[in-house]
Subunit: 331 residues, 6 copies
């Protein structure tokens, strides 16, 4: 019985090998990724039963996408297949002073054209404990936004915890609505957000000088919100960065250690790894400090793993938190 | 000064290595291809100056596509770049009794959304000798069809020879027009067609028992048409096929040798190699028999070359026609 | 609810790329395979819900093995993890007159050392329709044989159909028992066997001039056996072979078409693809002729797919049976 | 109409993948490179029309070399093909405290044996703005030196700006002349040099304590020289270095920022990227400070790109100069 | 005539490419390695004639293992082949804060089951100067320990220098004996040890506060021991470490420089490279300081070379010692 | 003690992967090969002790070349290293009707410039049984021809059997001598030749209608010649050929079976495999028929192995002769 349900689009990711540029590569590495699917995969690998709900094209590429979720142990029983295309993104890794780049090609996908009524959320969420969505989904299309709202409302009704990774991206909102039109209703139903100050400003029109002050303001208006988490990234260049985590728990700000990351193997999906760490913590009854520590260490380790999915174990995360074995050859 | 001008869409081709299936491959080989661009590249490699005109997305993938044309020596000076996506196709090679497959993802591309007035055909065709288009282009969108008609009309006006590769594909015509709405006007202005019996039926509503009879009927209605060429494929399975060529020259049917091809390395683009061979022949003042022999041998050799472009030389084609050196280690 | 349950060891397969020999390769392709797991994966890909039960080492290699089953949609909920090693096999593909080779390294694996009581067959088989085992499992160790017998007995008791792929391999029986000691009791409980004449001889001491005569003799002694299927392989060399299927259904021998296979991409797992085809046919209420036709076409197609798993669809198999589209480029 | 003409040899570069050593690699990455061709390719990618003139062997390797120039948009219309071999160099990347290594195999190449009269410099330079050569060319053979002198003299006569990248390499001068025999005449005709103190010493016998003092002395003797540029490299080890640029403009020394580079992906060609940046600046009417800033940032970015060619855009270089987006994921 | 004889097991090493994790890799890089074989290969590459004695399975994998020794110039004339399996290890490279991991699968190998009398040590050591073993061998099985003792005793008798790399690994000792049962007798016959404080404790029950004090105690009890060497590793993380060397020569402690290593390409085998450096030094009559300097520089360079074998030359090591050319492009 | 000594140049072979063409490949597979070195490697793999004598450049590429001989077990103790370059050849595999191609780049190599007195043939051949050379060596340069003559003369003097693979290649003879100037003296000292009718014509000016007649004539003039062997190749195309062997033993012509080879993996080196098979047969006291059967089967199997070296075992060859196991999966 899946404990955690996630909903969102899955894209094919195409990435030149090593540190090659698009124009010089005659093959691209292929995998399938999406913010919420990544979180579901991370959770499953950490031992938390999870299911990812999405809409995929009814062809071999759509099936390949769901097969990658399955490989990670994520239930895909309620994936809807329909005519259409699979969204794509092209990723070029950076190096040193050269920045990484993403070219999206995701418009008009099968997911964007999903039928909002195609998902039986009552059945899907039966027995589940947690529902997770991100701000990418309602930005894609009206029907995606509708399906997302239905999912959140059902989750709330059935007593699941609801988390939203706000992840505001201006250039996604192309169907005639803005984030401020759509997001407030969705955020209102959440217990926990991953969001930074600018996310609040862009989606809710709420802002203040510090994250804590912003959270207090937001929670006043949206009283279901009990926790807000985010990461702070320090950047030397594309290869060398640091990461630390912050959690507002209604009482104050808790912080994790800061991790120095050099070299970065793949930073894409590190936010999803953080999100999965937060959910993992609360599903496993960790306290707030343990949770932000776990999520940040998970996020830090993700930077060392190729691909969007955080293929690390609980014991690896715990060792990193304790500073044990770092760099030691484990036999 | 380019002698041959071609016009049409360029797609990214993504293909699992070796004989892998989509669902089992974690990298895809990448190249850029389109029926008319393939023909232009073949011609350039054969030593005929050529230019390919197209519309590409104004990003690094669009630039990568034009860089491949450039690499083959094709002039790209009149490529138009605009916002939008690059069309794609996914190719799975077959083997033995397993068939090869293509999944297209080309709708709503920058090319489909091109501005029909963005091309200054008068300037482009100045000094050129031949214009080539295919039936794929007018099937993509109204503006693509308009641009194609403008190009053909200008070519005709300026005294270029015009060739059209009819290449009817039912599932491309999605913008509210059918081939019979659009194609007759375009075909009417052509000197030479690559077309089979069903192409005449689908595009012109003309059919008869034999290719010759069909050509005679068509030429009566469309008197500009002087030559019609096509290939006949014999199929044992995906790895083992044969190819021969046929040319109707207004007087009768000329045939080439039949080539046995086993194993086939990559058959995609073999029609474009044939087309380029036909143009090569006439641009180089070959007679009809020499032309169909050259084009068919070029087409046959293409089956042995990976990728859409026929990377073979004139001397290799001539050796195949003569049956010289086949299988001999050339030092 | 899985309809088909399979039980057996999963090995890591290590194979030099292309047609490389062991001594000249500095990388090996890696996948995870086992006769029964292959059948379960094939079934799942064909749309039949399946579960594979096995014992894997409690390390990342064991987890990788189960992740491959999951990727194919096979349920792995009852896999037992324990200390120990993952069995391996090294495969060298042949070519033309050079034969393919396998070096096994599977002794003393976690599976060989499994605890026969670690599997709750009553629970595993609840609601299932079919149980499948192969003669490899009882050959590995006493505890594997015991677990296999328990599984078969439970299956029988709970009314599942039982199939056994006899697959006699002399050099596996190393734990002090012979096939004739162990197999009769297991075969006695089967409804359907995949077996050739020598399998009957080696496991039951029964033989006769023809497969039909042998089957009749065997069914007299082992009256549960209602069907016996096998394949006939014609061999030109490593790259060129043919395959046809035979089914004895208690009344007579039914035969499939013979498929010519050239070149063979990977023949390993073709027997498992045949087995899965047989099960697919009967689970889907095909008649005997339809079943042997389906299974043989599945087996034939497997030869064109890299890896042990038959990654083909029902519609591909049906097209091969009808001789449709063979070698045609499917767009 | 090409604005910038370059002249020099093109070699095949063979390089073990990743950080492999020659003796342990069973494949080598292949590309085609030469100091001046690299500069032409960089310029073309930056949007400056360029043509590279060279002599290549009349075989498929020579054609592959010119195809790479073409791919980068460089005009190759005046390449001369003749019998002979393609020069080669083998590159082993270093890592950390292990140094990178080059083994040259370039003697007796088609270029070394070129016919100095094979190039119609009058025609080639018609309408061009800038001619660029390097000190490698006159070091190769007498005929190469002659062709280079002819080119420079024609450029001067036709009013092109002339730049020379001195790049003194003692072990190249093997044909009986020394740099001091040949270089003064060539340098005398230059407007701009890329050269360090030892280059002046080795080629002109001029030296002084500082670059500025050396430049002043040289300009007194060679009054055409108006600008001298060079880079300063700081070296921690093979993976971690810094680069800054210096320009003497007749009045004094201008300096760029210093860029910290870690890890270095490929430093080969970084001098050519610097050279292209200098030419880009002056062709685009940048002032001296802008030019040295642009050239140094281009040079720095080259260290992050695999291959000899600096595959970066003007906007990427500008962002690096401003310190914008460094390490940021660009979507 | 080999000067240095080594004895020990050779394993197949299987390693995901780049920084991939086991569960996400569909191919593994393959090589053959063992502590003593690595030392022999290093010595041979450095110009010291060496022979490695081992027992390998009599199949193509065993032959591939010996072919790698041969490739490095190591004599394999006395390798014994017998039935059995080749031991394996699976290596996952770490990156940044993610640690590297090894999964061993070496029990019950052909080497573990070797016949202690299969080696004619008298003949093997005829004319040799040095014998080297490691503490891995006696930990594998009783017969391996016996063979090792025979070899050491013969070496001693014939006047060879004997070195032992203690390399204590608790989880290897599985055959009913402990290191303290077996190692004292072997260590007693050694002239030189590579060992750290915990090695003395684990194998001899001798310990003290410092390495020097421990060595003095040990040498009192085991008077043949004249030298003890070891390395000190400083660890930032998996990618960034430092190494320095220490040698106790009976009079005091000599230290090498400390080398900063970033990034580390492959640290596996660096201890064997150190060992080979020590032997190289003494065989070449270096003094103690020269020897520890040479061995440490060799060890440091090994971290920049993929694979277990230290593929570097004497001149590269000498340049590192002098700090010459570090990071310089050598042409 | 090597039984068989071979002498000849070793080249680096560079080959696009799979069936790629030179102009479309961005990596080349690398190995080291030469007719006589290939024969020595084959012999060593078959169990016949062999030594290859050559002259290699004193750099890492030369060392890599000798390391490949060593890997195959060939003694390289008398290799001479000197300044210079390593000869190269570029190989493009053909497919179906496209022919394979070789571009040589071997002039002015270290071998071509060898010092004919650098080899102490008396010492090298001490205790050996057989010396083998090919017609490539005397074609390279006067000093190579001199060294070859010295070697043959010494072999003869010391009682070794001498075999020569005539392998006439017109375009190699570039140093002012022709084959007819040089070869007669060398052939005169041979016991066994591999040669076809045109080889006799080109080197000795002897020809006749049949091989037998030609051999009889030649043996009359060159009475040392006791045996002449050659292969007959039947060619369908690049992928499909047949091979059979012929031996003239002074009494008549013996023939082997004809082997059908489809697909051919790599035919380069198949002549050397045949040569090695002939030597193997006579060194192992096979009779003439056994020898030609063995050599032809070895040659046939070589076509299925990537690379110049025939990596097959005696038992594989014997099975092919008997027609056993062809295409069977060997477990």
């Amino acid at each position: 019985m899946p404990k955690v349900i996630t909903f969102g689009e899955v894209l094919m990711r195409l990435c030149p090998p090593a540190q090659g540029r698009f124009v010089q590569s005659d093959c691209f590495n292929v995998l399938y990724a999406g913010s919420e699917a990544n979180a579901a995969a991370s959770l499953s690998i950490l031992g938390v039963s999870s299911e990812h709900v999405t809409c995929l094209p009814d062809n071999e590429l759509g099936r390949a996408a769901s097969m990658q979720s399955k490989q990670c142990g994520v239930c895909t029983d309620h994936v809807v297949y329909k005519e259409g295309r699979l969204g794509l993104y092209f990723l070029e890794s950076g190096a040193s002073i050269r920045s990484p780049k993403i070219i999206y090609d995701r418009f008009d996908s099968a997911f964007a054209n999903l039928d909002a009524d195609a998902f039986d959320w009552e059945e899907i969420m039966e027995g589940a404990e947690w529902f997770h969505w991100s701000g990418i989904t309602p930005a894609i299309s009206q029907s995606a936004a509708d399906a997302c709202r239905n999912a959140i409302a059902t989750a709330r009704k059935k007593g699941l915890k609801v988390s939203g990774d706000i992840n505001y991206r201006r250039n996604l909102w192309q169907y005639g609505k803005t984030a401020r039109d759509i997001m407030p209703e969705l955020i209102e139903m959440c217990d926990l957000l991953v969001a930074g100050i600018t996310d609040f400003e862009n989606c809710l029109g709420i802002s203040d000088a510090t994250l804590e002050a912003t959270c207090i303001k937001a929670a006043k208006q949206y009283p279901n919100i009990k926790k807000v988490a985010t990461t702070n990234r320090g950047t030397v260049d594309s290869s060398h960065q640091s990461i630390s985590g912050v959690l507002w728990n209604g009482k104050g700000i808790l912080e994790s250690r800061k991790y120095d990351l050099n070299p970065i193997v793949d930073r894409v999906g590190s936010g999803d790894a953080f999100m999965a760490g937060i959910i993992y913590g609360y599903v496993n009854k960790m306290n707030d400090q343990q949770t932000i520590d776990f999520a940040t260490a998970a996020c830090a380790l993700k930077h060392t793993v190729e691909g969007d999915v955080n293929r690390v174990s609980v014991s690896e995360i715990e060792a990193v938190i304790k500073g044990e074995n770092v760099g030691k050859l484990l036999r």
